[in-house]
Subunit: 410 residues, 2 copies
């Protein structure tokens, strides 16, 4: 069983957007062991799309299209599929009704062009698009399957995780099961040195990926069933955990922020943040965790020095003697937000994200982070490389790492 992706969109060819959808779908196919040897990308051109689909259908069992299902004149995937399959488009009243119902629930009127989305090749069945008006489509003909998915990421990803995953499950006879061990506090080369022999195995495999402030180790096993694959992975994971001691902080999609919220929940403690150079990024990340409201009270974005004084109680002496980017200021911010909010934990970030310094001779990338509870206020001084964006992301990540290590040391 092999598959092929045909991405549709002149904006992809012109480089106006980077095609991450195909990468996501590629990962999903790999997960189910579906062989995948070609990808094509064509512009918004009906003839070239039909030609690309004919080529794909001639050599692949399952063909996915991504994009071109919208309501505008550019959106030609429906027609291209009909051409390639020698089929014709029919107007599907039930699709129109679905579109109307969706718009109604959002209080948005139906623009006439949206009715274009109600056409489908006569052989197609409709795949629900929970986040958009254009449905996905699936055609099966002469042993081949063609699946059309919408291009906008907010519609593509849920359809991939939902109906398309279900479909792949139903046709696949071997699975690749993966488990990601997330490691913080060790660099990639240090980790590789510890597990070099494990990285040479072929099934299961162990592959490291460096991320912002952490390293992911992906363990993958190819087996007939998920159960069997899991049994193959278990001893490898045990060995890695033994070698890397306490550095594995989470597994799979569990992010550091989820782990931190979970640790707070278990110990029935609360958290507040005080952010300067990250401007709210730490709070934003923590509140991405569903149900963080039990543990996360909120915080103060103290971008100006006045805010640091008025809302967090940072002293004038500290700001005058050491400046806002200093150990003292970070500690007073963390303690201040903890006391002001009544939280058990206060975490603060103050640093120089660049591109320019703060008028002192402190370097861009210098970031002070403090973690405070009733017993103790600890502190890290960091020098992050890269540009403003990278420095801010690393700062948020490091604050979570610092808090995590305090929480696990309890």
């Amino acid at each position: 069983m092999n598959a092929e992706i045909v991405a549709v969109g002149t904006e992809i060819l012109l480089g106006q957007i980077v095609d991450t959808n195909s990468a996501e779908l590629g990962r999903k196919l790999a997960e189910f062991g579906v062989f995948h040897t070609h990808r094509q990308t064509v512009g918004d051109n009906r003839e070239r799309l039909a030609e690309a689909l004919r080529l794909a259908l001639s050599r692949s069992d399952i063909v996915f299209t991504i994009g071109g299902l919208g309501p505008t004149q550019d959106d030609l995937t429906r027609s291209g599929i009909a051409d390639a399959l020698d089929d014709e488009l029919i107007y599907d009243k039930s699709i129109e009704e679905g579109i109307r119902a969706k718009l109604r629930s959002r209080g948005v009127p139906l623009v006439p062009s949206m009715k274009n989305q109600a056409y489908r090749p006569s052989c197609a069945i409709v795949i629900d698009n929970p986040n958009g008006t254009a449905p996905g489509l699936m055609c099966q003909k002469e042993g081949k399957t063609l699946i059309a998915m919408p291009g906008p990421q907010s519609e593509f990803l849920p359809m991939l995780a939902g109906s398309v995953t279900d479909y792949l499950k139903s046709i696949s006879d071997s699975v690749i099961h993966s488990r990601v061990l997330r490691v913080a506090g060790m660099g990639e080369s240090m980790i590789e040195r510890e597990i070099a022999d494990l990285m040479e195995m072929t099934n299961p495999t162990v592959a490291p990926y460096a991320k912002v402030g952490e390293v992911h180790l992906r363990l993958s096993a190819n087996a007939a069933t998920v159960e069997e694959a899991k049994n193959m992975l278990a001893p490898v994971e045990e060995e890695i955990r033994k070698r890397l001691v306490d550095s594995v902080f989470a597994v799979d999609e569990h992010s550091l922020e989820e782990v931190v919220v979970e640790l707070l929940r278990k110990s029935r403690q609360t958290l507040a943040v005080a952010e300067s150079c990250t401007g709210g990024g730490l709070g934003f990340l923590i509140t991405s965790v569903v149900g963080a409201s039990g543990e996360f009270l909120g915080g103060v974005i103290s971008y100006s020095n006045e805010m640091k004084q008025d809302m967090l109680g940072v002293s004038t002496e500290t700001l005058e003697a050491h400046g806002a980017v200093s150990e003292q200021c970070a500690k007073e911010m963390a303690e201040g937000v903890r006391k002001k909010t009544g939280a058990d934990w206060g975490v603060s970030i103050t640093g120089i994200a660049g591109p320019n310094s703060d008028g002192t001779d402190k370097p861009v990338g210098l970031v002070h982070i403090a973690v405070s509870n009733r017993d103790e206020t600890t502190f890290s001084e960091n020098r992050f490389p890269g540009e403003r964006r990278a420095i801010r992301e690393r700062s948020v990540q490091q604050a979570l790492i610092d808090l995590h290590s305090r929480l696990t040391a309890l």
Copy 2:
């Protein structure tokens, strides 16, 4: 003159890396007006690569390969090109010498496998790779040109900016100049209805792309010089601005957050934020703008009701009678943060990001946003579709749109 890209690498198909190189090359081709209708991606397989190249050469004048030039067994692009051109590989002593010289200057020894990089199709000339040992290659045969570029970004991008740009300049007699108008407050289909006739033009062209909370209109003109192209775009832009009234908020790479900070700067006004369901995301986005510290004072992440009361002065009556996700609460948050911080503007966000509601019968996706200055507190009630992440991003974006419309109404 038309071109085609063949990206080579199993890791691209498997989704282990996202192919940004093809997007960069696509942008470059567009800049020089080189027509570009297809892209293919194949794995590290000699036969399939040769087949893809034959197809590309049959329909395109210039074919680019990206990747597969390294020293390992996986790196098959040299062989694939030779096969597709009915040519053979020869060992080029001068390439080997170039590799040796590069390694010497870095103090790195020659690993035997690196000599594989000294093979080239007999018809090929060598393109210097300033940042790597694998040279680029260019073959010309029967009126077709084939250019092989290395895959690692640190080698690909400099070659693209250098030799490949020079080559494209030499063959191109026209340029495509583009300008992006960024539109907020109108959906894609509503915009299309206003400018449907303009979207049918062929030179310049007008094409819409929906983004989170905004729509980008790309205006592109093909002309002999950039100057001439700009002159063709000007009247079209004027017409679009007239029809869409005040909805065009920025041009080209300027983001809404940059425009908002710039508007504040010009009017010498300051801003503070009060965020509930977005947890700091608005502050994080605003502080991504370099130099926002003159205009952005900071804010309060009031995730808990207590924080809304204690730090923003939201009244108990409001919370009891209307709840935290209400017009009244949003207004009191925006006014509260403005007064507490002494900022000229206060912006607040309070909503239900999901996946669950807040214990009331209010729907997930309901988000209240208020914008307050000394004269007036305005307000929008929004229902955003999608999941938690999308709802939070849309909320941040909508808050900027609401603030922007107040700032431009001044």
